[in-house]
Symmetry: C2
Subunit: 715 residues, 2 copies
């Protein structure tokens, strides 16, 4: 589901930005502000003391034990070994009395991972032993991840602090959608992402398997589906089973999506007879919304879907099956006289009604095959049976309305990680916001949320960097209590978890340097790294607008190497705010800000020389000039601020115009430090006025200085 | 084959170091000293002009075309896209006249990759078109790699310079041995290494599949072999076929090794009846040479080997099958009265004779299954039939002796990349040295060489960093003319090829930063990176001696993150040599040397603070102190040199003692800058004498200054 109309989403983000400004105290973590747990547990209380983690460390079990838990303990020990560089035991210790960690699980839980699974656990760590209790194996898995996050070290060695944790998720549905249709992802990419999901307690992989741009799952009944719709890039049924088993081992459900009746071009390549237009069809290579759509009027369509969905229902054990149902504009229906006649005959007043008819037919098929139907917002039409689950790309309000009417739902609006928004915005997004007016019964229908990794612009090389670490903060929103919302603390913990996720093979941190080396043709990448540290890909759907590519284009450009939510920019912006708040001295953080600005100014010549020799970087040339402009401008502002001498009259407008120019995206990239530069210039231009302003008044003004000028300066 | 006695190897390296000091002019590349080709072609002549590589770039074929070549063109285009960030054609262009690159292959070549394959090609690039001619598909593959290495860029865009290349390999056998027995490597690791091998024109993967520590190939006839000898980490026969096909696609042979009669503990876990001692046996976890050995006296052993090797001969299509045959000390033979009686009965005077008897029996089996036998030096015994190929870990002299006696051979002595020696030493190693006295006929029996990646201390995370980029220089030694031996130029090109290899998914460059982040527990790794840039793992077999681990230990320590052949150290050493040669001013490179030394001195406190918080780094604490000592010492020496003031009398010995202390390995790591520091101190202490020395005299002395003192100073 591509939210083409992003206005509701934008509005939501504006609210979110407001919300994130209130850094409410995190009551539940108050006793240990410096822990690195993510998601924050429901209840955590640190005690005095610590449990040493040394070469004798072992794990034992009391009570229930099964192959899944045993394998999880094995993986847990190997990860502990990797971090501590100590060789530890293999397998479970026989003696629970002497073990450092004792697991007490009550039972295996559900045979097939389920939305009803009890994932709760408790973890008690004293200086003698840690005890992990859980009702189910999955609960124990969640607790093992918490234990790994508690690992710390000092001069004495590795340890876990003494702590009492009682934990359970706020929402039962905490998912990550991976679109493997626009770009195929090798199985190993999905596996490492499942490992990362487990590390942050996500429990649903929403596997978006079919699209206009690709049909990625083997059908033994209709081999032309994947055979002609995938360029040979599809998952065999054996591979699907392997992935489902891999997910189950980690307490993760796999919900498959077969998007119909729209988003279905790739189905029609091998089966044009299912389409509403005569065809022939070819795999779509562009991004966007397209017209091909299944023909809902022919009985053969339902026979086909019955056979195909029956095959998939047998392959995927999860209770839910997602049928998409989004973004069908019905143009091919309008153009087909037979379909128009059918509508008239059946009294279907418009294409929405026709799609509802289609959905009802599909629902009957899914019921027959024992599945609960799930679909995007568009399926929420009058007469929709209550059992169907709504997946909302429209927003929490739409979800609440559905819940009020008795429908269960899952939120993805606000969790579109492909749109390159900063973590803080996703973090502020809540399926059940504090101002929700739902009754408890209605609220229980809001099952949770899913981050969506739509894959128009990601490959195996870059996908991790679009998912992680931001999705860890979404995982926290879906697991932790609603009042866990301290943005600063989230970012601090996120930096730690990001590095820890690397032990699972994720490439989100390490691939950027590699991509910069390739862009630089093996030359020194220092100047390029300086640039890329403060730029981000443009947001929402602007990348495609500004720098069109197809599904076959190489995704190896600077925009692909750049990452969302620049940490360097965030630090710089915080330093500038601290500096400006320190009026009239402007001493706080001034050295760091000056060094950074100087680096920008001085890097530009080297960067330009590098760009000259690297044609793949030619598109970045204007950014190099902008970087220099921003550095120079900032340094001038600093100089006025520190000297207290007011700049010439025309200076402010000239500089704001230069910043405005630098703020315009180039090569689908934009600087993430623009507001800070504006603040510096405005502050410098008002340095004289400062003498009549109290520090408190000044501080209140600083935040408003970043607004872009109402009209371009000088006009 | 583990060269436990490394004296011959050491001697060879000393010769090599001498040889590498003569930087003979690279005649064949004289016309273009700045190209990035590795291996350097047999003949290359740059012309004026260039072929633009832009969006219209396409490849066409005249003459022979097959699926293998077509797939290679497809990979070629995708790699070109990745570097240029331009979307290029899919598949072959129909119009050869308009194509930028035209391939003219004569035929497919051998169906099964062979040591007899014609790999020659020619590449003519003009400003209108490039023409790649080859007798075989494999020759065309080699030429495509050369074309990719020629890619360059400037302000005008990407291009390939006009050039005439006639190329063919010096040796037909250019291999990389990967030991997957000590540590198992996932198939994807082997695949990316096959891609890298193809990129530098290597053509043999020697797959070391069985060992004391693991039996890694599925046997359908004897499933207890892999079932009980591999901890579940083995390759299925389907996977082996997949890998062989993958290698064939890249013109690479796969030669399997089943090491017998020694190195066979893992065989005996499931089949103790094959052993010379009663058993039971368990998978070996330590490194070293072990006693378990097949019983060569029982007919059942040969029946078993006939069945097993017959199964493997059918699985592996290559003409050669490697039986190891190394490092059997025969202790279990000596201890077994029945085996002693057998020797007496057969008139076999010692264990060598018994092993020769065994080899003859195995040879008969292999002949029956259509294979040519290959084995390590030890199989070279009187009466060895001439068809057998000797694989030499002893050295070029042993290989020459075998060639004189009519045996074909392959050299691995001097190419033991697991021993962490610098690239320059491997580069100087030649299967047919310039002083060889072999006749042309004898010399033709020297088939080539193999780099050996023994895997005691590598995992999937680190193996690439032990193989690459050094193996690219070995590939050049085996492909390029003997007189291509300019070490400086090799290092310059190696840095470029190293980055280009990353496009194939190799992790040798990018994993170090990740490992440092893990060691630092997510904290700032800058100080650690400064340290690790100038240290190297200890050489030869000292790692195991100094820091014992097992095959089950985590290989995530600082020694694992450190890489062979430190580039930063090499640059520093070159700068110090330039500085000292610039007597009596000592101005050349002095700023860079001073900055580096200052960084070492100033990093130490931050580094120590980091170590305090990261127990996995505690073992590195003495290295942090040494780094500071080296920095301070170097700065003092610089100061005396620049001022011309002589240091106090005791200064020299005190400083040399401190350097001596710092030169001792810690945590199995050692500084790669010690000789330069010694030179600085000795030079500073003689700064007064300089006034009586001519610059030429001085220059001659500088090189000798790095020798460690004959006895510890001050004693």
């Amino acid at each position: 589901m591509r939210a083409r109309t992003y206005l509701p989403f934008l509005l939501c983000l504006i609210c979110a930005a407001g919300a994130s400004a209130q850094t409410a105290p995190d009551a539940s973590a108050a006793s240990a502000p410096q822990h690195n747990l993510m998601p924050v547990p429901a209840s955590v209380r640190f005690n005095s003391g610590r449990l040493a983690v040394n070469k004798t460390f072992s794990v034992a079990a009391r009570g229930h034990m099964d192959a899944r838990l045993q394998a999880a303990v094995e993986r847990f020990l190997r990860r502990l070994e990797g971090r501590t560089v100590m060789e530890l035991q293999r397998g479970l210790a026989a003696d629970a009395g002497g073990a450092a960690l004792v697991i007490e699980a009550v039972g295996a839980g559900r045979a097939v991972p389920s939305v009803e699974e009890d994932e709760s656990y408790s973890l008690e760590v004293s200086d003698r032993q840690a005890t992990l209790k859980a009702a189910t194996t999955v609960g124990a898995l969640r607790g093992l991840e918490t234990f790994l996050q508690l690992l710390d070290g000092d001069r004495e060695g590795h340890f876990v602090p003494a702590v009492s944790i009682r934990d359970k998720p706020r929402f039962p549905w905490r998912g990550l959608l991976i679109d493997v249709a626009r770009h195929y992802e090798p199985l190993e990419v999905l596996k490492r992402n499942l490992d990362a999901m487990a590390a942050v307690k996500l429990n649903v992989l929403h596997w978006h398997l079919t699209e206009n741009q690709g049909f990625r799952i083997e059908s033994k009944k209709f081999p032309r589906l994947h055979g002609m719709g995938s360029d040979g890039q599809f998952y065999t049924q054996d591979e699907a089973r392997e992935l489902i088993a891999y997910a189950r081992e980690r307490g993760i459900r796999v919900v498959p999506e077969f998007d119909i009746p729209g988003h279905a071009t790739a189905w029609l390549v091998g089966h044009p007879e299912l389409g509403s237009a005569p065809g022939p069809y070819t795999i779509e290579r562009k991004a966007g919304i397209f017209d091909p759509v299944l023909d809902p009027t022919r009985e053969e369509t339902y026979k086909f879907l019955d056979a195909f969905l029956g095959e998939m229902a047998a392959l995927f054990p999860d209770e839910f099956l997602h049928i998409g149902g989004d973004e069908n504009e019905g143009k091919h229906w309008d153009a087909n006289p037979r379909i128009q006649a059918f509508k008239k005959e059946k009294g279907l007043k418009d294409n929405h009604a026709l799609q509802t008819y289609f959905n009802q037919r599909v629902l009957t098929i899914l019921k027959k095959h024992g599945k609960t139907m799930m679909g995007w917002d568009e399926i929420f039409q009058p007469d929709l049976p209550k059992g169907v689950v709504i997946h909302s790309w429209r927003g929490a309000a739409a979800l609440a309305e559905a819940a009020r009417q008795g429908y269960k739902g899952v939120l993805s609006n606000g969790f579109y990680i492909d749109l390159i928004f900063p973590t803080s915005q996703h973090y502020a997004n809540d399926p059940l916001p504090a101002d929700s007016t739902l009754t408890a019964e209605e609220a229980a229908r809001v099952l949770g949320g899913e981050a969506t990794m739509w894959s128009e612009w990601v490959t195996a090389e870059t996908i991790d960097s679009r998912i992680w670490p931001r999705t860890a903060a979404i995982a926290e929103r879906l697991w932790s209590p609603r009042d866990v919302r301290d943005v600063e603390d989230m970012y601090r913990r996120l930096a730690v978890i990001s590095v820890r996720l690397e032990e699972l093979g994720l490439t989100h941190e390490k691939n950027q340097a590699m991509m910069l080396r390739r862009l630089a043709g093996g030359r020194e990448t220092g100047p390029l790294a300086t640039l890329v540290s403060v730029i981000e890909p443009v947001k929402e759907y602007r990348r495609y607008q500004q720098r069109p590519q197809t599904m076959l284009s190489p995704l190896t450009g600077l925009v692909d190497a750049a990452r969302p939510d620049s940490e360097a920019a965030r630090r710089f912006n915080a330093s500038v705010e601290a500096l400006l708040s320190d009026a009239p001295r402007f001493a706080a953080h001034s050295r760091g800000v000056r060094d950074t600005l100087t680096a920008w100014r001085d890097t530009a010549p080297e960067l330009e020389a590098l760009i000259d020799r690297s044609p793949a970087l030619h598109e970045a040339r204007p950014l190099a000039a902008d970087l220099s402009t921003l550095g120079t401008t900032g340094l001038e502002a600093l100089s006025y601020l520190s000297s207290g001498v007011a700049p010439p009259a025309a200076w402010r407008d000239a500089k704001l115009a230069a910043i405005e120019q630098a703020s315009k995206p180039k090569a689908a990239l934009e600087f993430a430090v623009i507001p800070s530069l504006r603040q510096l210039v405005v502050a410098a231009s008002e340095v004289a006025r400062l003498k009549q302003t109290t520090p408190a008044e000044w501080k209140a003004q600083v935040k408003t200085m970043a607004a872009p000028p109402a009209k371009p300066p000088g006009k």
